[in-house]
Amino acid sequence: MPTDPVCGMYVPEGSSIFTVVDGEKVYFCSKSCMLEYTSPDEREKSLRYRLAVAWIFSIPILIITYLLQFAYRDYILLLLTLPVQVYSGYVFYQGAYMAIKSRQGNMDLLITIGTVTAFVFSLFITIFPKAIISASIYYDASAFIITLILTGNYVENSTKKRANRSASRLVDMIPATSHFISDSGEVVDRKTSEISTGDRILVKPGEMFPCDGKIYEGVTEVDQSILTGEQEPVVKRVGDAVFSGTSNLNGSVRMEVSKTGRNTTVGQIYDLIRKASTGRAKVQKIADRFSAIFIPIVLTVAVASAIFWLIFLSYVGSPYSVEIAVLSFVSVVVIACPCAIGLAGPITMLISSSISSENGIVVKNAGSLDRLAKATRVVFDKTGTLTGSDPEISSITVSGGMKEDDLLALGASLELNSNHPVAKAITNEAKHRNLILHKSTGIKETPGTGIEGVVDGNKIGLARSMQQSGSAVDILVNGVKMGSIGLEYPLRDGSREAIDQLQSMGLSVSVLSGDSEEAVKDITQRLGLSDFHAGVFPGQKADIVKEYQQKGDYVIFVGDGINDTVALETADVGIAMGSGSDIARDSGDLIILSNDLNSIPKAIVIAGKTISKIRQNIFWAIGYNSALIPVAAGILVPAFGLAVYSVLPMLAALAMGFSSTTVVTNSILMKGRTEKILRDIKKTGVSMPVSGST
């Protein structure tokens, strides 16, 4: 079932509320969500107008209420209040109507009840001034509830925009114009949005690549730091893939476009960052429970406090019983802010995902951050993860009187048919030695085992060597072993530092590999590790992960994502090492774009900070409501007297208006603090706590 990209709600397929983006239907739960998606600025403009009208009328209302006395004063105040009440407050009524219609309580419902109660009470007193003895009008309260909450919403929106800005920074940087190459070879400027798959474009030095594609002419160095976090430029030649958002540093290149718009690497990362706000940490369950009972509880407390003051003040003979009952009801309803609770998790997830993407970490499943912060063990796949994925030939052993080059030529003739990294190493070595390769037939490749076929009438087989120490393949001619090719996988840069870092954070580290015990032992010794599993077939990796889990470990599995799908899914958190084109892969909760293993401790630090910040926000929001609802209900009256109620509704509106802003601002603070820790990791490799207070 499709989800609304704005609010994350499930929407039935076939809903009439949809828009088409890049040829795909995007469904929405409501027209307001669709408007926010298609024209986000419209909503802000409308909010600005309503806020301006609210302030223009509210200030004279306040001056007249507290400083001036004249004939028909109440009617003048009524006229001044109407635009605020009707025009500026319309957004709240709309939300309240939706809440009633869907039988769900929301903050708009509370605001509407509060402001309409104050307004209707004042209207009644204006028309029937003698109906309630000593009663005053409270247009200032009704208008200022709307004005202050709208102001709070406006400030909150601006703060959220700041939070979103880092997420949208990637797409904002994509050039609006591209140099399109026509069939005749002429270069013309076109809007990037009009470029399609298969088009050819020119990218000049200093420009940013507007789309994903392949270079077909030219050589250049590319700064890919925006995607991978790596500052070192990468040389790109004919046939190499280039990604939108990366910078062409010094060469003019021509490329064929393979992906545009939302389908590009940058577009997909942006979508994932936006979706991160729908991810959930376990602590957010509190918000689920609280939200479900919040509105009924607030309304009950408001009614109870009104009844209490009505009965109590009538009993003691106070003439203000009705007035104070109404004001206490309004104050309780207005001061309660469920919104802060609702925002606590999603806004932090959004900022966390944005910090991750700036460090070359793509968070595909924001819900996994919870488990990442709890991890106790990291299990690495060896080949392609701890080592590079492309092996190098370390030795060739010949037996049976065959020449080394002849053996290599036979093996390479067969391996020409395979895309396996071992095949690539063997064919590259044969090309390097200028060997003549032969045609092969009847090719049969068995994953994890080897390849066989017929070359020059001989049945040739290349199989994983079970005898030679280290990684090696045996070459068999007509079933007879004629030699072996030894292979070596170079360790990935920074792998030792990353493992030291993880161990200093208190995590256990293990290695899994399909290679021989000797080969794996060699690598693990170089990395200072003792726990490893050698000779593991792809299907067994998940079983080993399960064994660790049964022993009580929270396991992060780090693999190259190709043969590790099951293990990535079985682990509590699957981290796939990838290149820029791998985002679309299904497996893995996180993807490390930079291929830098130091991103793993960084991801754990970000996860710890995120969970800690969500917890902080939720407890702040609940604490705020727990402390201020009793204040609005009148707990301070014994200390300050009933006069406190002349300003309490407005103070309540001010507090509600800015409570959500506090949550958003607190989440934004996470960015600076987390980035400082990440910089320290990069510089010094110092040990950092997995989680902690921010």
Binding site: V6, C7, G8, M9, Y10, C29, C33, E36, G95, M98, A99, S102, Q104, G105, N106, M107, D108, K160, S277, T278, G279, R280, K282, Q284, K285, A287, D288, S291, A292, F294, I295, P338, C339, I341, G342, L343, A344, G345, P346, I347, L350, N365, A366, G367, S368, D370, R371, Q549, D572, S660
Partner: protein, 105 residues
């Protein structure tokens, strides 16, 4: 009765199973809009235990005392990945209630 669900468990009170008879116990997630009318607001997710007479093949089912307890894949994933111990109980006023469940992605 305790049922192993991935790395987690579901414990169903005997009286619940007795009451189901030949029907099936189904665990479903219900999503609702959050408390603020805002694009960023948390979606409220709650789990519900329902007795149904037909077993939807899209659900993941486990045998439980002569009948089946079935759940949406999202419920299974939550219990498995979250290593949760979930309890299904019967209360006098609210019918079937599910305790110990947290939505996990």
């Amino acid at each position: 009765m305790e049922i192993q669900v991935g790395k987690g468990t579901i414990t169903i009170e005997g009286s619940v199973l007795d009451g189901i008879g030949k029907n099936y116990l189904v665990l479903k997630l219900i999503t609702e809009a959050g408390p603020c009318t805002d694009a960023m607001c948390q979606i409220i997710i709650t789990i519900h235990a329902i007795v149904e007479s037909n077993l939807n093949p899209e659900l993941i089912a486990f045998p439980a005392g002569g009948t089946y307890v079935a759940m949406e894949p999202a419920v299974y994933r939550s219990i498995d990945r979250g290593r949760q111990s979930v309890f299904v109980k019967e209360t006098r006023h609210s019918g079937l209630v599910v305790k110990g469940f947290t939505p996990v992605q």
